[in-house]
């Protein structure tokens, strides 16, 4: 019952509650993520100001895993510096790839840790990383030459 176990309360909460699902008034970045195989189509909006993520939100349609992963990510990165957000993206994608993270890195992912089980659900990896890849593209467009993320796009 691998899959049933990922439909936890946290995921269902984020899937249904939708507190991050709206448009921003002044987004500095808009990035659309599309998973053509299953029809997930989510757009991340971010307002970056003075090197910090002032606000973020998303709109679109997707499955419970993709929308919850997006929403949990938004909760996590809001208020963080671009640099810290970059590290979170890197750690999250490493976790999904099945790489061992330090206890500290794992803890910093907070609620997003529950997606660790996706590494054993290859059919749903793209759902759980859709929002994070949008964020990765947004952050890459910032001048972050030191922490440029070079991860496999398929994960």
């Amino acid at each position: 019952m691998m899959t049933d176990s990922i439909y936890t309360e946290i995921i269902m909460y984020h899937n249904k509650e939708g507190h991050n699902k709206h448009l921003l008034d002044h987004p500095s970045h808009v990035e659309r993520g599309h998973n053509p195989n299953c029809g997930d189509d989510l757009t991340l909006q971010v307002e970056v100001e003075a090197g910090f993520i002032k606000d973020a939100s998303f709109v679109g349609n997707g499955c419970a895993i993709s929308t919850a992963a997006m929403s949990i990510m938004i909760d996590l990165v809001k208020g963080k510096s671009v640099e810290d957000a970059n590290q979170l993206v890197k750690d999250y994608l490493e976790m999904i790839r099945g790489h061992e993270l330090s206890a500290e890195a794992l803890e910093s992912l907070e609620d997003a840790q529950i997606f660790a089980s996706l590494q054993k659900m290859p059919a749903r990896v793209k759902c759980g990383t859709l929002g994070w890849h949008c964020m990765r593209v947004v952050l890459e467009s910032q001048d972050s030459s030191e922490s440029k993320i070079t991860l496999d796009h398929n994960i």
């Binding site: 019952m1 691998m2 899959t3 049933d4 439909y7 269902m12 249904k16 053509p36 195989n37 299953c38 029809g39 997930d40 189509d41 349609n61 997707g62 499955c63 419970a64 895993i65 659900m121 059919a123 749903r124 759902c127």
Partner: protein, 409 residues
């Protein structure tokens, strides 16, 4: 609930269910499971009959040629053909359709010509024509279906004297609607166009007769009708195939090659470049034998009953929306639906945990989905190895899907 429903008597023919005894396979429209007779035929060919066809004088090469060319005869008979030269072996339906697009479309279409495509076509019958359109300047015209996937008669007016090609799926894999192909073929011919039929969801489900249909081209895959993946068929009228240039070039499709010029083999070998998939043909022939032994009428009856039962059971669930036609005769062996409040991908994942394999997504029919205003759907498709028991289990599991999402039905 029908507690007495039994598993299908045909299930025993399929070794996959010995390895996965609890598997409920409702993804036949994507690819079929394989009967033991097909597996054994391929094994036998690989063990004792393997040689390169069409070349070499040794016995195994001769045997291989016999299997390959004998297979052509059997495929011809299976679809009611009269001339084995009209059967071209390909990899699958997609390659068959690409062959027509690249060889016929690129050669004969001109600017202002029109290609009429049924909007419910699979991507494999849309994207190649987009490429042809971009290269030749021919215009794509879509024939629009209604909410049930049926073609209103008024749409036929879009087929006119500029139309050179009319192409459509006999049964739509995206919504399950079965069309009356003769109506479209007749209209195409009246306007001087050729008609192409994607029969991927029909082959192995009911009798095909290319002569009665008067089809110009008809394409299908082996793997959706109990044969292995990697073998497909293109039927084409000889006079059309004969005037078409090769699609792929190289070995086996040539007569004389000099440094700068080549003369090509006659039809159908002109379209079969390189060493061919003889074990695939062997498996396809075994699949045809399997189908003929059970009988296409028996297969159709079995599937028809399942369609009826599945529609009835799913309609009992207030949280299910079924798409496609109401009338059974207008349906192929698949039912497309959505579960209220739950994305199809989540539905499929949770069903998978209960041993039930369905397809979720756009089913390679994005233009159809856009036309119908859908983003994704669930698809349960079936064959002789399925039974009413499978439908009952699907219904039970759908309640569980709803429970996981906090619904109390």
């Amino acid at each position: 609930m029908n507690e007495k429903a039994l598993e299908s008597a045909y299930r025993a023919h399929f070794p996959v269910f010995r390895v996965h005894p609890d598997l409920i396979y409702l993804d036949h429209a994507a690819t079929s499971q394989k009967p033991l007779s097909v597996v054994e035929a391929i094994q036998n060919q690989m063990v004792s009959e393997n040689g390169s066809p069409h070349r070499g004088a040794h016995q195994l090469s001769v045997k291989s040629t016999e299997i390959y060319e004998g297979g052509r005869q059997q495929v011809m008979a299976f679809i009611g053909g009269l001339d084995p030269r009209e059967i071209v072996f390909t990899k699958n339906t997609t390659e068959s359709l690409n062959l027509i697009a690249y060889s016929y479309g690129m050669t004969f279409l001109k600017p202002k010509d029109e290609i009429a495509i049924l909007i419910s076509s699979h991507h494999s019958n849309i994207v190649p024509w987009q490429v042809v359109s971009q290269k030749t300047g021919a215009k794509l015209v879509y024939l629009l279906v209604d909410q049930e996937g049926k073609l209103p008669e008024t749409e036929l007016k879009k087929i006119n004297e500029r139309t050179q090609i009319v192409t459509f799926p006999w049964v739509s894999n995206g919504i399950g609607t079965k069309l009356e192909p003769r109506q479209l073929i007749k209209k195409a011919h009246e306007m001087g166009a050729i008609a192409i039929i994607d029969a991927a969801q029909v082959a192995g489900h009911e009798r095909i007769n290319v002569i009665e249909l008067d089809a110009d081209f008809l394409a299908f895959s082996g793997h959706k009708m109990f044969a292995p993946q990697g073998i497909g068929v293109l039927y084409g009228k000889y006079e059309l195939l004969d005037k078409m240039p090769p699609f792929l070039t190289g070995g086996d499709m040539i007569e004389y090659v000099t440094c700068f010029e080549t003369t090509y083999e006659a039809v159908p070998k002109r379209f079969e470049a390189g060493t061919q998939n003889v074990s695939g043909v062997k498996g396809l022939v075994a699949a045809i034998d399997f189908i003929e032994q059970i009988g296409l009428d028996a297969i159709k009856t079995h599937e028809h009953k399942l369609t009826q039962y599945m529609m009835m059971r799913l309609k009992e669930l207030s949280f299910i929306t079924i798409y496609g036609p109401e009338t059974l005769n207008d349906r192929g062996a698949l039912v497309v639906f959505n579960v209220e409040g739950i994305h199809p991908h989540d539905v499929a994942s949770i069903l998978d945990d209960h041993g039930i394999a369905i397809r979720a997504g756009h089913h390679c029919t994005q233009p159809l989905m856009q036309h119908l205003g859908l983003t994704a759907t669930c698809r349960a498709s079936y064959s002789i190895y399925n039974s009413e028991r499978d439908v009952d289990d699907l219904v039970k599991a759908l309640y569980k899907v709803r429970q996981v999402f906090g619904y109390d039905d």
